[in-house]
């Protein structure tokens, strides 16, 4: 029993008329996880969440909670609770009545309701605001009410639909940390839907990336970022430089990708076991590319883990965006392709080292590119 996942989607498909919102998704979530469903809008992540809550029924497949098929259980009988995107706080009830609602419906004794409402309000740091009406609260406070209202029922799983999208940037960052602490404190499994990759990476212990109803990859945030399994995931999570090419060499110890976009070869310090001669994509994150000044007649830099003449290319800086903590450069290499490079501003004068129109070297380690087969 200990290893049984708390939630299992088994080949779940949902169609709205001819539109396939969720396409044959199989997925399981373990107890205590902070799981995130991530994807662009319209990718089916919200539909998946709503099927879990019981507001939609799967066209095909089964959804299990604790091993029980809940496909035919109405939403009010499911051991899950949801925090809605609009928070859906009842405007005609006080904060305390909102939070107490789920327990009142369940006919919990009044004394217990009172005690648990106070607890729940303390938990979300709204202690003492129980008598307020929702229209006297800020957006962030309303969200806390929605959280307390859902958590007070001690659900097996808490569902969060774009929980931070309606908050301003500062508050969003603060709520991120709070959601994390809250989840650790209550120990309930959280499933969050978001289109914001930063949010998913920062909060989730595991993410599922979806696109057009299809599950693309399920992994921890760092695996998603460092080892994406497709161009979609690589591009959706963070930013990336993709080079289409062929596998010229594929040995167990190293591999070489030859791309028409690059005047040099991409050397990898590991084997790929991909289709020799077939199309592959090398994905290099902008922050994994180093910028070096180019001296007239100088040798290309070598980071020591790739043969000379690979993983280093000259280019001209065409665009620079100063972001405070770092700067983003767009560097045009021979052949016209522009490469994005992130550079941390480690000292106060860092961003002044490289100027528009300057010729520079771009180079990267042999372990940095990720090889994508699709």
């Amino acid at each position: 029993m200990t290893n049984q996942p708390i939630i299992t989607f088994e080949n779940v498909t949902k169609r709205f008329g001819k539109m396939v919102a969720v396409d044959n998704v199989s997925l399981s979530v373990e107890e205590g996880e902070f799981f995130s469903l991530l994807g662009p809008s319209g990718c089916g992540k919200t539909t998946l969440l709503r099927m879990l809550a019981g507001f939609e029924t799967p066209t095909e497949g089964r959804i299990l909670i604790d091993g029980q098929d809940i496909s035919n259980v109405p939403p009010n009988k499911r051991p899950v609770n949801m925090v809605f995107q609009s928070y859906a706080v009842f405007p005609h009830m006080s904060v305390a009545d909102n939070v107490a609602y789920g327990l009142k419906v369940d006919r919990t004794p009044a004394a217990e309701i009172k005690r648990r409402v106070e607890e729940a309000l303390e938990l979300v740091q709204l202690g003492g605001l129980g008598d307020r009406k929702p229209d006297q609260l800020s957006g962030g406070q309303r969200q806390r009410v929605a959280l307390a209202r859902a958590l007070i029922k001690r659900p097996r799983v808490l569902l969060l639909d774009e929980p931070l999208s309606a908050l301003d940037a500062k508050l969003r960052e603060q709520m991120r940390t709070e959601l994390c602490t809250l989840q650790e404190k209550v120990g309930i499994t959280f499933i969050m839907v978001t289109h914001d990759q930063d949010e998913a990476l920062a909060l989730a212990s595991r993410c599922a990336v979806m696109n057009r109803g299809v599950l693309k990859q399920v992994a921890t945030p760092s695996d998603l970022y460092e080892f994406p399994n497709s161009r979609f995931v690589a591009d959706f999570i963070g930013s990336v430089n993709l080079f289409e090419g062929v596998l010229a060499v594929d040995e167990p110890s190293h591999a070489v990708i030859r791309s028409p976009d690059l005047p040099i070869d991409i050397f990898l310090d590991h084997g790929v076991t991909g289709p020799r001669g077939g199309t592959v994509w090398a994905a290099i994150r902008p922050e994994k590319i180093e910028l070096h000044k180019k001296v007239e007649g100088g040798e290309p830099p070598n980071l020591g883990d790739a043969p000379k003449g690979t993983n280093a290319v000259a280019g001209i800086i065409r665009h620079e965006a100063y972001l405070g903590g770092s700067s983003v450069y767009e560097v045009e290499i021979a052949g016209g392709r522009r490469v994005k490079v992130h550079r941390s501003n480690l000292t106060r004068w860092d961003q002044e080292d490289f100027k528009l129109g300057e010729t520079v070297w771009l180079c990267w380690h042999a372990c940095s590119p990720a090889v994508l087969l699709s």
């Binding site: 809550a53 019981g54 507001f55 109405p74 939403p75 009010n76 009988k77 899950v80 609770n81 949801m82 809605f84 995107q85 609009s86 928070y87 859906a88 706080v89 009842f90 405007p91 005609h92 609602y101 789920g102 419906v105 369940d106 009406k133 929702p134 229209d135 957006g139 309303r142 969200q143 929605a146 209202r149 859902a150 029922k153 309606a166």
Partner: protein, 284 residues
């Protein structure tokens, strides 16, 4: 004191043209009503020149049994038809707001028909209907003898309720309903706890509309009323045919005061609920 500054571009109320216009509107709106009320206290049968203050026409009106009967008929009809109209109108509005079903557009259009069809046509239609298609049994006990009038009043006032309620429901956040379900409420409980509180102000407004429409309806009632089912407007009309006596003024004044009190009470009630239930989709 410095000279007052010229009116700003948006300070319309400080321009004399606007002030004159407002004064004219006020006069044409309220002068007839005030005259009617004032002459109900006039100590003269002719009702043309002011002869002195008296309350005797109120006394007379209160002792005129046929007037009292017409008045109570009107109130009864208004009360019953309002209750039915609100229930019916709210249900139609909910169905149109909530569901998709075949014939929805037709129903939607048909609903507006009683609002746009000229009252005289409605009156004739009702007359024909109750004379030929479904005669209302004669000689029934009060208030059953008012049935035909009540039915016709419901048929023209429930669409107004439906329109008001439906307009209100468009501001309802569906996530609110889902939240209630999610927290364990069944369908019925969800309606009572979440949908109805949101709908409440429109129910009050709709009821007010239905009540006043019914209370002062003359045309349709005139065609459906029998000799023993006279309503207040019909009675006033028959009294005026001979002459406008201060007695009519007195009765009308009572009716005006009554409707004003009712409206004020309803608005107050609505104001209270609107203050708390007035936020449908917040935070979006």
């Amino acid at each position: 004191m410095a000279k007052r500054s010229a009116p700003g571009p948006l300070e319309y109320l400080r321009r004399w043209q606007m002030q004159a216009w407002l004064a004219a509107v006020a006069i044409f709106l309220y002068a007839p009503l005030i005259a009617l009320m004032a002459f109900s206290f006039n100590d003269s049968r002719r009702n043309i020149v002011w002869k002195g203050f008296t309350l005797k026409y109120y006394d007379k009106a209160f002792h005129d049994t046929s007037l009292i009967e017409a008045f109570s008929n009107s109130l009864t009809i208004a009360a019953i038809s309002t209750v039915i109209s609100v229930a019916l109108g709210a249900m139609v509005a909910l169905a149109l707001w909530r569901f998709r079903f075949p014939g929805k557009t037709v129903l939607d259009g048909a609903l507006a028909l009683p609002i746009v069809v000229p009252e005289i046509c409605m009156g004739v239609a009702m007359l024909v209907f109750f004379a030929r298609v479904m005669p209302w049994p004669q000689g029934m006990v009060w208030p059953l003898n008012l049935g035909a009038i009540i039915i016709s009043h419901v048929s023209f006032s429930f669409p107004f309720v439906a329109v008001v309620v439906r307009a209100r429901m468009t501001s309802f956040n569906r996530e609110m309903e889902e939240a209630a379900r999610d927290l364990g409420a069944g369908e019925w409980r969800t309606i009572m706890d979440v949908i109805l509180p949101h709908m409440a102000p429109s129910l009050v407004a709709g009821a007010l509309l239905a009540f006043t429409l019914s209370l002062d309806d003359f045309v349709i009632t005139f065609f459906t009323a029998g000799p023993d089912t006279v309503t207040f407007p019909v009675k006033v009309y028959s009294m005026v045919r001979f002459s406008v006596t201060p007695e009519v003024n007195a009765a009308s004044t009572i009716l005006i005061v009554l409707t004003v009190i009712l409206t004020a009470a309803a608005l107050k009630l609505q104001g209270n609920t609107a203050a708390t239930a007035g936020h449908g989709g917040d935070g979006k």
